[in-house]
Subunit: 477 residues, 4 copies
Amino acid sequence: MTPGIVPYRLRTADEYLNSLRDSRRVFYRGEPVSDVTMHPVLGIAVRHAALDYEMADDPRLRDLVVAEEGYSRYFKFPTSSNDLLKRSALIEAATREGKTLVVLIKEIGTDALFALHTLAPQLGEPYASRIRGFYEHCRDGDLAMAVAQTDVKGDRSLPPSKQPNPDSYVRVIERRGDGIVVRGAKVHTSVSVNANELFVLPTRAMAAQDADYAVAFAIPVDTPGLTLIASPYLGAAKSAAEHPISADHKMAETLTIFDDVFIPWERVFLCGEWQLAGDLARRFVEFHRFTAISYKLPLVDALVGAALLAARVNGTSAASHVRDKLAWLVSYAETLRALTHHAAEQSRLVDGLAVPNTLLVNIAKLQFAQGLHDAFRAVQDIAGGLLVTYPSPEDLDHPQYGAAVNRYLSGAGGVEGAERLRVMNLISDLTTGEFGGYQAVLAVHAEGSIEAEKIAILSQYPQEPAIAYARRLAGLV
Amino acid sequence: MTPGIVPYRLRTADEYLNSLRDSRRVFYRGEPVSDVTMHPVLGIAVRHAALDYEMADDPRLRDLVVAEEGYSRYFKFPTSSNDLLKRSALIEAATREGKTLVVLIKEIGTDALFALHTLAPQLGEPYASRIRGFYEHCRDGDLAMAVAQTDVKGDRSLPPSKQPNPDSYVRVIERRGDGIVVRGAKVHTSVSVNANELFVLPTRAMAAQDADYAVAFAIPVDTPGLTLIASPYLGAAKSAAEHPISADHKMAETLTIFDDVFIPWERVFLCGEWQLAGDLARRFVEFHRFTAISYKLPLVDALVGAALLAARVNGTSAASHVRDKLAWLVSYAETLRALTHHAAEQSRLVDGLAVPNTLLVNIAKLQFAQGLHDAFRAVQDIAGGLLVTYPSPEDLDHPQYGAAVNRYLSGAGGVEGAERLRVMNLISDLTTGEFGGYQAVLAVHAEGSIEAEKIAILSQYPQEPAIAYARRLAGLV
Amino acid sequence: MTPGIVPYRLRTADEYLNSLRDSRRVFYRGEPVSDVTMHPVLGIAVRHAALDYEMADDPRLRDLVVAEEGYSRYFKFPTSSNDLLKRSALIEAATREGKTLVVLIKEIGTDALFALHTLAPQLGEPYASRIRGFYEHCRDGDLAMAVAQTDVKGDRSLPPSKQPNPDSYVRVIERRGDGIVVRGAKVHTSVSVNANELFVLPTRAMAAQDADYAVAFAIPVDTPGLTLIASPYLGAAKSAAEHPISADHKMAETLTIFDDVFIPWERVFLCGEWQLAGDLARRFVEFHRFTAISYKLPLVDALVGAALLAARVNGTSAASHVRDKLAWLVSYAETLRALTHHAAEQSRLVDGLAVPNTLLVNIAKLQFAQGLHDAFRAVQDIAGGLLVTYPSPEDLDHPQYGAAVNRYLSGAGGVEGAERLRVMNLISDLTTGEFGGYQAVLAVHAEGSIEAEKIAILSQYPQEPAIAYARRLAGLV
Amino acid sequence: MTPGIVPYRLRTADEYLNSLRDSRRVFYRGEPVSDVTMHPVLGIAVRHAALDYEMADDPRLRDLVVAEEGYSRYFKFPTSSNDLLKRSALIEAATREGKTLVVLIKEIGTDALFALHTLAPQLGEPYASRIRGFYEHCRDGDLAMAVAQTDVKGDRSLPPSKQPNPDSYVRVIERRGDGIVVRGAKVHTSVSVNANELFVLPTRAMAAQDADYAVAFAIPVDTPGLTLIASPYLGAAKSAAEHPISADHKMAETLTIFDDVFIPWERVFLCGEWQLAGDLARRFVEFHRFTAISYKLPLVDALVGAALLAARVNGTSAASHVRDKLAWLVSYAETLRALTHHAAEQSRLVDGLAVPNTLLVNIAKLQFAQGLHDAFRAVQDIAGGLLVTYPSPEDLDHPQYGAAVNRYLSGAGGVEGAERLRVMNLISDLTTGEFGGYQAVLAVHAEGSIEAEKIAILSQYPQEPAIAYARRLAGLV
């Protein structure tokens, strides 16, 4: 598309919903899901994702959501620190709209596109053109994208080609004139049930004998042979009063099975170039960790705000130990924000793309991951036992004793029991139930584990200048 | 009852269930509960509590469950470290039966009885006789007991008598010839819906003007004017496969409202003696914290065992960072056990009762409370992302793709996917869902908050010998 | 001075040394020090401070050291984030020259000047002109400055005017036509023995009755009535081999006694305006904390570099637990750097001066302070027991067994024992001896205590937006 | 010796000192030391060690110091938990006398004797008789013993026999009819300069090809070919006022070189039995870690006491953050004490010897090691900046300004400056100078590193019961 001739058009939420009504093979608790948009559980994930399309209609957000060129800002190749800061701000804003839950249907896909783009020079043709073409396809179609990276892995001490089950990593089982056929399974695939396109990327570095496992491609979600088995986690119905976030917001993860799926060549971005598998895996993760630390900000803000609010309604804002915990929470949140923004400011150009400072990104991700459970404890400490002993909304409205409940549970400063309980329910949703647990496990495992982040930090730190300074101090020069 | 004449008899589980079918006024989500034993949610709590009565039938446990005198060991006044160790072992064993959830229907009540017993000399007559009589009533009837201590408190910066709402703490509103009338509300009252008797204790120290609030008593749960509003927390139906603990085990907490409840004098144990209110509150908490650290042991054992098991099925037992986290978990669990047992060994006699070393009890409780969230993080780290992305049991059984799911998710050492997922579900139940959150909030708040434990630690530590040693080291003597 | 007419001239190190040979009243271990530059202990502090003047001669550093206007960059009023980044870079570079020890003779004084400058509008005339004049005096004379802020304080629970000893805070005891007379004492006054000018600032907020204590001024260090009692800490002679840093680098702190010292009016910057005492104290500390986090960077870099170097010479760089600790150290150091630089980038203008983001400055300071002891532990863990059992340099050179010592203590990769021991001595100097202890106590107490930083963090965090977001999430809007 | 015939006699301190005046080859800073008792630095270590002999004269301590049989209690084989508790109490008492510094001249040697004793059945004859005979020799002679275990190790990734330098571990270079000849070097050998006998033990498990390195023996310290090179660490002269502990108390560590040292057979306890080398190394360390956690108790007590005292003289005992830190310190200290005592209570018999619970011993050691730096930070935080800026004792006594110093630095409750400074000096000695650093490095490395303790914890924990419980909870049985 030539800018200026036919303007880009963002899809509406309805167009997005309609686009998901295809022949995709989705199962939930063993039952086939004929229309994900209408499913009682997956439909929540769909509507959560539709926020992305609704945001463009919000005049306060439009400049952030729509790039100068007219397409969704997610697709804008960052070429400066400022672009990265805006991308981060967009991810943060969308997650705030999502009530601390990332939307992800464009974030993760563009992370994959950026990673492929920066490797295009090494991949060469015809890969480079295919990548460019597919990028334009997604951008111009304003598509929702998922990324399947983590293989089921089998025995973790063995490389892909040495596994007892040769399908433990997704692999090419046939090369044909018109494309390839792949087999295997990926786990933890987020937003796949409500995406239009599914990226598949390798999950690790490969050796020569793993060449069949060095494969990357993208396919429509309704491609034959692809089965999405959605996790039932967080699938129970919830009342909005007691679960103010998770009643209406969720993501769905799938076990994603590739049962001899055919991929036409124009959708294949890596096939056998084992030397680049690790680079692609890492590059994607690096972009994606910047996305991650951007979308963690509303969560940490919510924890700080909820703790401040709980202290206020409990009348304990002046208590020394409460203030101590609040100061810790603020430090935790604002350190994450500063590292995120500073990583953008300290970007470097890689093949024309601004890449956030990967050392700082990994440090931010590590600090977030290592502190979230402590943050939960601090917030729970400030909130109090009502988090798990609260009466129900029905009790508050009870004709006989509702007024008494409201009065007995009233808080400081004339706050009624009903309002105080809403604060407790928010914190309970954030920290004590499945939503909190989901965030906690994501903190530890998503976008690379804590240990992976440590490895990245040590590898990306410029060791020699530090050693040289130490040697100079030791009188060894 | 004179031992040797009429032998004690423990109740059966059925007798216990029958005893709960009375006119108690219980509400769940605004609906009156006519029979708690048949209620879909509260019935789970009832059956969990019935474990106490079932254990006496287990020949492996009988010696632990039944005291030498023939009554339930919970009622045995500890007079030696050995008695305390056995009581701790009984609490631990019952909680193991309860799948890491404490049973509590005799633990907490006997903690209150012990506290009253040790204060009987100060309370004098007729209180002392009433306490003795009520103790025998509970013991001989093998009764289930709840304790309501925490008042709703209102403005926490004000004492009871200065509250805007005079009912923010339970208080005596009338003294009559045959008894007293009380009004107010207590929160966080555990096992009240399935207890026979409800203790009410003051929650803090009082001043002279708070005399009306210095009140302690015990009443049958079906006493007129008493309303129990059960919390809906953890009330959603759960499948046993995905929630192997919480599907069948729960406690119920209530907001407990005293709407001008009449208490006959023989059930009143404190009424106006404000000088003793704080002592009673503290003494109860001290006994109860020993109960608490005893019943935490199965939970920490389960976390260690689950982490070891997860490492095994994931094939990561030899990974250095996994071993590091396992060593931490073991240290956490075994330090708690050592402190608990050593606190019993270091008991002192108070009016004939062996009281565990309160300094060590509080340290144990504090260390448990401050470490549980870290333990969750460690276990989640070892387990992996499947904790929140697992497929459902229905998927495993699916005729079309169930076998593939089982194979793709198989673990190290030939462990099938189904088995690996059961481990994930256990850890998910323990750490990422409402049950984990319940345990986490209990860790921080139950039996006194983290801050209360710190205060107790500092007050119970013998400061002067330590200062004297420091002065001697400093050359100041 | 009009730029372009008479160029600014920086002083030489010799000129600086000569300037300290005056009638200042300095005592060391009870002995009067007639010439601080020749004193065996204080002379080390003097030569360390002289680094400031030597740096201007280093062509690699000159652009950093000398502002565009020709004077020392320290005196440049920052008016942009870039100015702050350069100031930070200068402080970092000087501290690197000082082998991780801050030079401070201009850093702290200009912090005081900046604080006074931003308060000049509130102070009004004649204060504003005096401040401007004194600033030019210091800048044009390229002077070394100390700041005495912390009073001896007496009973910390009482304000200045209520102290049993009325001199517990420095106070005005007489107002005369030509100036004021002050009395009292300040502690922890750094670089006073080798400064030209001594600032005195209030240490806390004051009330109306404390007006006599609301006093700020600056005087030459040889002003009559001023006594500087230098601390003997770190005063023992050290060999350069065993203490590669502290043998040649030190600061000197004094107990600074004002024995009815006369201050002419033109040097008085606050006198009785108690409403501004707290603002001045805080403003100074805020500027000074930015100095602090800038000068901590070489120390954390040295810890990282020393740990990397120790792992290398010990042959343990690949050990998993060593890598874990190294990753932690890198995160610690680079988080501090990122927060420092981002605080500069997020500056705001206050009366024309760029003030670093105080929330981030305080978070940086807190994170540094809370982590340094852990960093010491990590570095000691990696280094090994030789830190405290090393043989002496004389042993390495011994004709009989020196070669054996060298061989037996050789490290990985052919590193000789002598070299490995230099690394151990560096780490010992950094972490196990008085220099390490000095840095540790400075981390906890200098530029405001840990608790003061927490208070600042909570007060500077914009609470209302966070609370508003939490309320929105809770459905309370 | 037959008890009852000739009573055991403990040596006097003078006898001990005389016994050190032999032909031992000791160097300090390259200079030969002809009489260690008269050396300005090593003499301090000698006099510190002499405390062991002086304690028997203290009637308050005699029952603890002298076993029922009449010899020093250190030599008593523990056969019950009570014996272990008394041994622990003796070690604690001696360390208290040593002002928080362990005496060690019998502790460590008897740990080695106990380890050899429990392995005697596997070692068989003639080793068993030799071990028994040497034990009696030490016991009856009331001897001071050192243990050299840690080899210089060379390249840590290689076993002894594969080292580039074959002498990187002490080894047998010749087997003769009358004994063996050994070569190599050990590091970190404590109390060797002032011991009578020196044990040599292997430091790790060995393989068949390492047989020459599987050697254990004991020799008089003046054996020809043995060279002790004392570390200069903590060797500077100190004033008792400023360093109330370390001025008069120290240990000396040596690099211990075996230059073809002949060992007669009756002193050889292991020679080639490589299968037992690891067992001996481990068994010694296990006994020694119990010694270690016993001797850490006075140090943690001193930290608690010093912090309490500092809070008192500073007038900050009621400050909330101070109380928080004090509670942490108390928990730290008393957890260590409880684990230590409980490990003794949970002893098991190994070949007739009561062995403390090794899991608990290692947990205690780990918790101590991981917390000491935090404890230092807490104490420094409570104490204040005077730790490193204090004026000298000479200043306090100064005729001109001494009274002012005393008054200006006075503390709360009428404490004079001089007394407050003694508290600061104590804390400075304990935490900021070389003595504190010595304790810190010992915490991390002595008696096995932090990582070694983690490995021990995981290996000693009974994993299967925990896994079985988790499996049961998961429904997998």
